[in-house]
Point group: C2
């Protein structure tokens, strides 16, 4: 299998996550506009993977600049297009900041040199992300014990990152360490990332898993059929409040009510230390059609109105630990996250 | 529009709830076997509607008895077939008990007289149910105030009953009383009763509504976008523990966490006073295909395993009130439900 996303000289190749698990189709982006559309339409999704795609999109956009063109104007155009693809995932903006720093450091360089440096940075962000996920996995693996049943929501796996995954990285590392346990994957309406993507990944890892509808998790907790939950994150505020796929808040509340630990796994690139708390995280509202239709077929009366917030924010008080590449932060997050960051 | 279910002389006519909202198709059952299959495959669903279908199924089965046949053996065969269609809804067994009492009271009657009495009882159960729902609506209507946003889960509407509905009956009665409010309908995977059936009914009633995926309700509560929840029931134990569509437990926990009242609406025919608490209620596990596929198309990897409990049990401590045809019971339910029953 090819990676989730790959730089291929003068184009980006990514697996089309809208088509999994039934079709394994790869999409090529040759322009930054195509890369932007791939992010918007969720060909690629998951905060760390969006960060990688954004960085590669910048590289692609600047490869299209001709000698004599206004480089700063071109950069602003490419940057602004990618900047407005999706609002919630911190990694998108984090990657854009890293790319911009490279651009600014190369003001005096030749265009060819600038382009080379931008491509190198994007490839480096991709490489680093997989490494960070492996460390997250190592740091979180011991939280899963023999006989546990782990609940995860949405897909925070290799497909949501450069590879290996965050929440699924923890599951994978525990499995590779020889622990015996099983997983429940919430299907995660409306986009079905759990049923389609997490299931597809867990099958390849070989860990036993079962898919459930999102509304079953609470009942299974109440029946003591779940031991803990671990999810990814799209943006984490300074106090530990965590934006993640819609439904995560409900999982966290249900864990609390049933006395189960609820963990978040994310690299530091997902943290937004500029935000005091989660109320400041912008929450994307996605198109109505994602709720109104499944596989292109209407499931509601034609005139039905819907809501489609793509994320929610889980208050830090529900989170037992945040698993990062530098270790596992425990409450109170105001101090522990700051300590981790500066470690 | 024709009723949800109707006795038509020598057959039962019911709207095919698997096809709504996009197709309005009616199914005719001419044998008790066809009626049993209609219950099993969810052509008709919803505890009170299942009760009506079961009663009409008995009548249909006994209409097929020939002169000289062993009536008791025939009755047992028909009864046993219908008895094992679905295990959770109390109304099924309640209706079978009522029909059996008629059968036993007519031991000395002619076959024609017995058949006439059984048909009359089934038609009476149907008629009564709609009347009870209207009373439930009247008793619950004042719980909805101007400006409220009401959450409901699954479909406890006219389609789940002989007509009018229980939870949707409360919504309908409040709307008919001139209250201005709106409704969120949980889509209710896997069978999508909320997206398909509740939305279809709310549209006909004229109350503004929006459909959400099941995992959005908690976040909307947290954002103060929901005022209260009202749901139906499949079986209620003596202490108030309530079995209802999978996901109801989660709605109740999320209401508690957000300080919102969670109401159950059901006729006394849904109560099982023989059961001390909800742990004794049998929970149906439905076929895997309902979770694995949507509209006949696979949404998980082909080898994926799933769980499919069709119901959960909400402990009485989460329930602010149980709305019945005899009034609204409040905790402690052990005493208030018993008082209602004997009123």
């Amino acid at each position: 299998m090819r990676p989730t996303i790959e730089w291929a000289g003068d184009k980006i190749v990514m697996i089309d996550q809208r088509k999994l698990p039934l079709e394994e189709v790869y999409v090529e982006c040759r322009t930054y506009e195509q890369a932007s559309e791939a992010i918007e339409t969720m060909v690629i999704r998951g905060a760390p993977a969006i960060g990688v795609a954004a960085a590669m999109g910048i590289a692609l956009g600047m490869l299209g600049v001709k000698a004599g063109e206004d480089r700063a104007a071109a950069y602003a155009r490419v940057h602004n297009r990618i900047y407005r693809t999706r609002p919630t995932a911190r990694n998108l903006f984090w990657a854009l900041e890293r790319m911009k720093a490279v651009f600014e450091a190369q003001r005096e360089s030749s265009l060819a040199e600038l382009q080379k440096k931008l491509v190198a940075e994007a490839v480096e962000i991709d490489r680093e992300d997989e490494e960070l996920c492996r460390r997250i996995g190592q740091n979180g693996a011991s939280l899963i014990k023999d006989g546990d049943v782990v609940l995860t929501h949405c897909n925070a796996g290799g497909l949501a990152t450069a590879g290996y995954g965050t929440a699924v990285g923890v599951i994978r590392a525990a499995w590779e360490a020889g622990r015996t346990f099983s997983v429940f994957a919430d299907e995660t309406r409306p986009f079905l990332q759990g049923a389609r993507l997490t299931a597809w990944e867990l099958e390849r890892i070989g860990v036993p898993y079962r898919v459930i509808t999102d509304n079953m998790a609470g009942w299974l907790m109440h029946r003591s059929e779940i031991s803990l939950a671990v999810v990814g994150a799209d943006r984490i505020a300074r106090n530990g409040d965590t934006a993640n796929k819609i439904g995560t808040y409900s999982v966290a509340v249900l864990c609390k009510e049933n006395g189960l630990p609820f963990y978040v796994a994310a690299p530091l690139s997902t943290f937004d230390f500029a935000l005091a708390d989660g109320s400041l995280i912008p929450i994307e509202e996605r198109p109505d059609a994602e709720v109104r239709e499944i596989n292109g077929r209407l499931i509601v009366p034609p005139a039905a109105k819907v809501r489609n917030p793509a994320f929610d924010v889980t208050p830090a008080r529900y989170i037992a630990g945040i698993i990062t590449e530098k270790g596992v932060a425990r409450p109170p997050y105001e101090s522990t996250l700051d300590a981790l960051r500066n470690r």
